[in-house]
């Protein structure tokens, strides 16, 4: 019974696979795969990435290049099962020379195992897991890891005169790195971590944690959360009249944080690689295109990272043209140097990690503004 059904299902899939290939225009067309969650719990991020990628592609097409680029989007639902199937699908398609994505580190790493075996360059805009780029020489990322951000924040807090700090973060691979990288540096500087706890993403009630933090009376709280949890945390801090200064990472940088938390977000400090009120022309062009395309407010940091990731890929393609193969594209990606993106200049080091400049920011009068201290 099993194989009969199996053959049936495969037969129909086969019939699809043999459909006529697209007609080639005179200009060569290169295909890039993009795996991202377009449905499911993390769809809001994937949809942002898709919008950002389409803006980048649109601008590229208008720039009059000697070749065309097409992006194939596939929905992974942030599910490993689907992610590895997409990876196989991209690898099978000989016209796909490079891949962007996935959103979560877990799905990115599982897919990376397949890209490693097949020799396909993979550039994730958000996979921050320390092991991701260690999978093979084919993996790149366009997100500053906590190995860079954590120590920077530790120095900032220490320089602000804080000596006793409470640390909380979400219980994910990323949250783990937020805490370890910050705590190691802060202790090395001579500071003291008086409280440390992880919470599950989407926690509705932070009040028990806030009460415990307040009891330990730290000088500041360092937090590893995304904007949804961040807004909840800040609102409940206010409800409990806890006024300890809050510091966070670039992951909580999103206009939605201020929309959700309102005045309670005032004063939160964070590090970021992208500020939409940066007057640089490329940033303002992106922000304007984003507003026109999505009808939303300013883009957050993640869509900006996706926009840059697509542009880094396109720039590498341009350098590899006309001899574009998966291998030559990988080599050109690795050669990315001082790429002027909206999230700062990007250079890949020998381990294919991006070095980016982080700026210090604070919520003031309902917007994120750059600050010195």
């Amino acid at each position: 019974m099993k194989n009969r059904r199996n053959i049936l299902a495969l037969g129909s899939a086969l019939a699809l696979a043999t459909l006529p290939l697209p007609v080639y225009a005179q200009q060569p067309t290169y295909k890039i795969g993009y795996q991202l969650p377009l449905t499911g719990n993390t769809a809001q991020y994937g949809i942002d990435f898709k919008n950002a990628a389409e803006i980048a592609l649109d601008q590229f097409a208008k720039a009059g290049k000697p070749f065309k680029v097409e992006i194939v989007f596939e929905d992974s639902r942030s599910d490993t099962k689907e992610g590895v199937a997409i990876a196989r699908k991209f690898v099978d398609d000989k016209s796909i020379v490079g891949v962007l994505g996935d959103f979560t580190s877990g799905v990115s790493i599982a897919s990376a195992q397949i890209y490693k075996e097949a020799g396909m360059p993979q550039l994730s805009q958000t996979a921050s897991h320390p092991d991701y780029t260690k999978v093979s020489e084919w993996q790149f990322r366009n997100i500053t890891t906590q190995a860079q951000e954590g120590p920077l924040n530790a120095e900032w807090l220490y320089a602000s005169g804080y000596r006793k700090v409470a640390v909380i973060a979400e219980q994910t691979d990323w949250g783990q790195t937020v805490v370890s990288n910050f705590v190691d540096k802060f202790k090395a500087l001579g500071g003291q971590v008086v409280f440390s706890e992880f919470f599950n993403r989407g926690l509705a009630d932070f009040r028990p944690i806030i009460t415990k933090i307040a009891r330990d009376n730290p000088d500041a709280i360092y937090t590893g959360y995304f904007y949804e949890d961040g807004a909840q945390f800040l609102k409940q801090m206010k409800q409990l009249s806890v006024t300890i200064p809050v510091h966070s990472t670039s992951a909580s940088y999103n206009q939605q944080l201020i929309t959700l938390a309102g005045a309670d977000a005032e004063g939160m400090k964070l590090t970021a690689t992208f500020l939409p009120n940066n007057p640089a022309k490329n940033v303002q062009d992106f922000v304007a295109a984003w507003k026109a395309k999505t009808g939303q407010a300013e883009p957050g940091q993640f869509p900006a990272q996706a926009y840059d990731a697509v542009n880094i890929m396109l720039a590498a393609l341009e350098r590899a043209h006309p001899n574009v193969t998966r291998k030559s594209l990988r080599d050109q990606l690795a050669a990315t140097k001082n790429f002027p993106g909206v999230t700062g200049d990007t250079t890949f080091d020998a381990d294919r990690e991006p070095a980016k400049k982080l700026v210090r920011a604070q919520v003031k009068n309902g917007t994120f503004v750059a600050v010195d201290q």
Binding site: L10, I109, Q113, E117
Partner: protein
């Protein structure tokens, strides 16, 4: 139908199934020349084993199990940890992972085996969540949300089992063997005793069937096979994290069993083929965001119009008894006892 007819059918059907699994499907997949189909075939087989293992507890014994992903996860973590920390070959880690999952299933079954219906379901739900939270928060051992990356690959005698074709055969052989064992268990005197337990456990008890022991055994065996499936997933994916074994997976497996037909082994396998295959087929059709809605409609439609599942238990049992003669043999065995009480179970 006489006995020789049955045995003839039996070899014919076994031959057809094995030829299909080991010759026809790989041949078709190779002709398509796309490793994507191999990947989907592997995922389908692993979930077919998961659905078959849950079929034993939920379909045959009638115990609603809401924490099956936990045993799948134990198998996955056990295999991944043994392979990365102790550098054991995958050949060894797969049975060990199954045994570990079986052992833990046994331990959790001891306090829960006297529970019935919804109380049992809630207990397994709790256990499933507990084990998930442990894998998420026991960072020194499981590396928590960071997951475990298996760098070693799967090499035995110079055959790299991480390549699509050898991986397919590896998974196919193990899954076929496991499903054969589940088939023998559920289509035997033993399986019938489990069905009696499902229909009316007090009546079964009164007839001399040791119901707690049966529950314990079926739960342990089911846990063992879920663990084997977890080990297969860990080795073929090369990376696992707690997100692969969360509550949604338990529900997915349960949906497979219900969609195919509670109590029907071919149904469970068909359920796995549909619920893993359909999203991918729809991906080929560029169904986009409608994929999930279509799958929901299929599930809803089946429950509405075919409440006994696509291959109901009665038709599945008739088919297996007529073509494989297993149930018939059990019936004959039962007649031979001449009214003496037959011992059920092997503990």
């Amino acid at each position: 139908m006489n006995a020789s007819d049955t045995s003839h059918h039996r070899w014919l059907w076994t031959g057809i199934i094995l030829t299909g699994l080991f010759v026809l499907v790989p041949l078709l997949l190779s002709l398509a020349g796309r490793s994507y189909f191999y990947q989907i075939a592997n995922t389908i087989m692993i979930f077919a084993l998961l659905a078959a293992s849950m079929h034993l507890v939920t379909g045959v014994a009638g115990l609603l199990q809401l924490g099956h992903a936990a045993f799948y996860g134990i198998g996955g973590y056990c295999a991944a940890l043994l392979a990365t920390h102790f550098k054991l070959s995958f050949v060894v880690t797969i049975p060990l992972a199954g045994m570990m999952a079986g052992l833990i299933a046994f331990l959790v079954a001891v306090p829960t085996m006297r529970l019935v219906s919804i109380y049992f379901a809630v207990a397994t739900l709790g256990i499933g969540q507990m084990l998930h939270v442990i894998t998420l928060n026991w960072v020194p051992v499981t590396k928590g949300p960071n997951g475990i990356l298996l760098f070693g690959g799967m090499k035995v005698f110079d055959i790299d089992f991480s390549k699509p074709v050898p991986a397919y055969y590896l998974v196919a052989v193990i899954v076929a063997a496991c499903i054969y064992v589940i088939h023998c268990l559920s289509h035997s005197y033993y399986g019938n005793a489990l069905r009696a337990l499902r229909e009316d456990d007090q009546c079964a008890d009164a007839m001399g069937i040791n119901t707690p022991r049966l529950k314990l055994e079926s739960f342990t065996v089911s846990g063992f096979f879920a663990g084997v499936a977890g080990a297969l997933w860990a080795h073929t994916a090369g990376y696992i994290s707690p997100a692969d074994f969360n509550f949604n997976v338990s529900i997915l497996i349960l949906s497979m069993v219900v969609l195919g037909g509670l109590g029907s082994l071919p149904g469970s396998i068909l359920g796995a083929i549909i619920l893993i295959g359909l999203p991918e087929v729809l991906r080929e059709f560029k169904a986009g965001d409608f994929r999930n809605i279509i799958i929901g409609i299929v599930l809803f439609g089946v429950i509405l119009f075919q409440p006994r599942g696509l291959i109901g238990e009665v038709s599945a049992l008739d088919f297996i008894r007529n073509q494989f003669g297993l149930g018939r043999k059990a019936k004959n065995d039962a007649n031979k006892t001449d009214g003496k009480q037959m011992r059920v179970g092997w503990l």
